[in-house]
């Protein structure tokens, strides 16, 4: 049975601070990416798109892993808060994946000469995007709160299989996309220290933004759950 009490959690109380931290961190990260870090020897200033593109992609991975963990937790405990966390993270993950694809296309045009290339990383990312749109579609087609949460949790567990496939696709297949530059098991990052610092700063900024959006969206979903149950009663 779903609880009808929406509690004010510490996460919700932290939301204004997360919003302020996001703004400050984004401002600092943008300054580092656009002003402080040098242009790339081969790509020139086009490299600056990658700071946002890569941070978006990492956050999309994180968001979908959170969907997976929240789905497992929901099936384990049947507590609706985990369903709220899963849907919130899925929506934000879809947003970040969409942005990753768009920013990647903007970067690819001057670098590869085309907006879209049929190469493994791009295709697997597009497939991941389609999968999680399907996840959101499944949720919208189901009216019953508990059944929707159960179906979505099962799907949220299955779909996470694609996350490592996306990340490792460039090492498994011949790819135009560059190989991992930072997350290289047993190896040091290949980036210049100032570029790496800018990338880390942007990732931290996007992490704050993700946390802020999560607290807001989870709150909306919890209120929605309460409203549906009140209407049912």
């Amino acid at each position: 049975m779903i609880s009808t009490t929406a509690k004010t959690t510490s996460a919700l109380r932290a939301r204004p601070f997360l919003g302020a931290a996001s703004l400050v961190a984004l401002f600092v990260a943008l300054w580092m990416a656009l002003v402080w870090s040098p242009p790339d020897a081969a790509m020139g200033n086009v490299v600056r798109i990658l700071y946002v593109h890569v941070a978006n992609a990492w956050l999309a991975y994180l968001a979908f892993v959170v969907v997976f963990l929240a789905s497992v937790a929901y099936l384990w405990t049947k507590r609706p808060v985990f369903d709220a966390i899963a849907v919130a993270s899925a929506e934000i993950g879809v947003l970040f994946t969409g942005l990753t694809l768009v920013l990647g296309a903007i970067w690819a045009r001057p670098t590869w000469g085309v907006w879209w290339s049929w190469e493994p990383r791009v295709i697997t990312t597009a497939v991941m995007f389609a999968m999680y749109i399907g996840y959101l579609l499944l949720r919208n087609l189901s009216d019953d709160l508990e059944r929707r949460a159960t179906r979505a949790a099962v799907l949220g567990i299955v779909l996470v299989v694609d996350v490592p496939i996306v990340h490792l696709s460039v090492t498994w297949m011949n790819a135009l996309h560059q190989l991992p530059s930072v997350l290289r098991p047993g190896l040091d990052p290949t980036l210049d220290p100032s570029m790496l610092a800018s990338l880390i700063a942007m990732t931290i900024a996007f992490s704050f933004l993700y946390a802020y959006l999560m607290t807001a969206r989870v709150d909306i979903e919890r209120r929605r759950q309460v409203r549906i149950l009140e209407e049912r009663a």
């Binding site: 099936l75 389609a130 399907g134 087609l141 099962v154 799907l155 567990i157 299955v158």
Partner: protein, 221 residues
Amino acid sequence: MTLHRIRLMAAREARAERGQPDGLVAAVTFVATLILVESLAVGPLAATQPEVASALFWIAMVFAAILATTRSFERELEDDAIDAVLALPGGRDALYVGKALALTALIALVALVGGALSLLLLSLDVLLAGHLALVLVAGVLAQVPVVVLFVVIALRLRSRAALVPILALPVLVPQLVAATNGTAAAISGDAAGALGWAGLLVAFALVYSVLGLTIVPAALE
């Protein structure tokens, strides 16, 4: 006890299909029609290339598997038989595994007929027939657990006919790529390639079977 129930469930499915083989007939007809239409669309010359012929065949097979699996579960819903099965102890596991086993046999039969039809229509010479059979079996094994999983997730939902392909096709992309490459390798005489892709398909089959067995019973309502 559960093994006994699984066997009963698979036998029940096979009996239902023998008594009313509309799922099998629809799937075979669908595969044949789709191969014909796809071959015409890409042009007869392009369609006879091993890679293209293999891709057309496996795309048709994915849709046939979705069709047959959806039909099988629709039959359970028609007279609410599913509720009685789910009420039994171990009924959820038995329903999933029994259905998956019976549907694997059914879809393997569809693959056999559809594959023979493809070879005949496109005048393809197969250099490694044994390897081709192995890839076909591995391809079917890799597809069915995923399709059953998504049909179960979308069970009793409105618009499930559209939802199942939307959910299943992106997940089936790696299996489609592996099956297409393995089939083309077997047709062209590349034994190592065919065995490698067949191995990958078996790995997919194992991963999704375990995943399905672990979480699908929770989704069955």
